[in-house]
């Protein structure tokens, strides 16, 4: 396989510089901003609020996602992102703890420079932690794309995305090693971090190429998990009073 020269000089497996800050909006119950290179997303969490929407199951907590693009009207793309985020967050939250409540997650795109959906998922996760919503484990999202000659690169910028033949957004559960170095949680004999929560693909790719994307993404998710743990741990829980 040929080495691809990326415009910003990264290696194919290298992610852009990550930055995460919590508790930036004071009226929201939880908020976080996440940036990967120039892509920046702001997420806010309000909830749990009483009552669920009409078609939702009242025996479980409900998650509602609102996606706000940077410019333009809300169209089908935003609705698709909302649905993907909602399904992903539903599988990491413990929905039986507060039945018949709704938690709203609002995602605002500040700047889009590639891998927008993954940035949003990571931001929403950090915001949920900031709000104190009970979750089973965190989720880390990563974007792998496939170039014309079958080469896999991670975390593309917008220019790189346009030249790709296909890409896959993958969300993995956070590795528990980062919290409990002694052991890992086993789900039916396999460590929980070997699973996958969400996978969204665009474009044409063969099954082998998809599996290759999966294993690269999985390897990179460990680095993201470490970053997530470090940035979420730094804030001391001293400011527990928030405007409701």
């Amino acid at each position: 396989m040929m080495e691809i020269d990326r415009a910003d000089g990264r290696t194919p497996n290298q992610l852009r510089p990550l930055a995460c800050s919590r508790n930036i909006l004071h009226r929201a119950h939880g908020s976080a901003s996440w940036s990967q290179g120039d892509t920046k997303v702001l997420a806010a969490v309000y909830g749990p609020k009483a009552g669920t929407k009409k078609n939702e199951n009242p025996e479980k907590a409900c998650i509602e996602v609102i996606w706000k693009p940077k410019t333009g009207q809300i169209g089908k793309l935003e609705k698709e992102y909302e649905m993907i985020l909602k399904r992903t967050l539903q599988s990491i939250c413990i929905l039986t703890i507060n039945p018949n409540t709704t938690t709203s997650v609002i995602v605002q795109v500040v700047h889009d420079d590639g891998a927008l959906l993954t940035c949003a998922i990571n931001a929403a996760c950090a915001a949920l932690v900031d709000a104190g919503i009970p979750i089973k484990h965190l989720a880390v999202a990563i974007c792998c794309c496939l170039a014309e000659d079958g080469y896999v690169i991670l975390d593309p910028t917008k220019l790189e995305e346009q030249k790709m033949k296909g890409f896959a957004f993958l969300v993995f559960p956070n590795s528990i090693h980062s919290v409990l170095p002694e052991g890992s949680l086993l789900v039916e004999g396999e460590p929980v971090e070997h699973g996958i929560i969400t996978s969204v693909t665009h474009g044409l790719m063969s099954v082998e190429e998809y599996l290759k994307c999966l294993e690269r993404g999985h390897a990179a998710s460990a680095k993201l998990s470490d970053f997530l743990r470090r940035s979420l741990k730094l804030q001391l829980p001293s400011d527990s009073s928030k405007a409701k």
Partner: protein, 247 residues
Amino acid sequence: MGLPNVSGDLSAEMEVDAFRRLFPLRFYERHLSESIRPDARPLGRARDTTLALGAVASADGSALAKIGSTTMLAAIKMEVMSPSTDSPDEGCIAIDFHMPPICSPIVRPGRPVEAAPVVSKQLSDTILSSGMINLKELSLVSGKAAWMAYLDIYCLDADGALFDAALLSAVAAFSHLQIPIVFLNDDGKIVVVSEEGEGGKLDKEPVNKEKRKLTLRSLPFSLTCILHKNYILADPTAEEESIMELL
């Protein structure tokens, strides 16, 4: 069919339908442990599928697809338009998916369903990126006129696996599509000829002599599956989709 005793609670005295409504997950799990589903399908089998081409006579291409009870009607209308400047010899396809209130009791008039724009976008992405249609075939006069195909898919009955049925009906409608005959007017405009015998007026040169069909290359095909504990179910019904969450 009689239900065996489930740990001696009130399900022993209940009818099957009541048990199905009140404890849907336990109802399904009893079936899954025997590797069968309530409609007597094995776990990996899809429902019976039927396809009818030409369901809408006034459209240039149409198809009605049924997967079990899920019914989708797809119709294509062609219009002439001027192509964009960065792709002057390519036509255009616009795909839209509608879920009218007829399809399901949870759809109300005036309140758009969450699933409709998502399926619509996924359909567009799949059809355009699969390379099934070569947009250059939709071109008439390079730089001046090209075909715009409006594909509308209406869900008539939503019983699970919406994307599969919609994709099937879209591909079938494209395979049935016949591009109408057009003439090039003296003013340089394209005129679509109608069917009712205009035999005497054929003094202008037709741009395409006969109705032609599009050549379809790789046809996309999809199958929805649900993962529930250790079981993988293929082609879920709406009831299965609402109870089991991992799609």
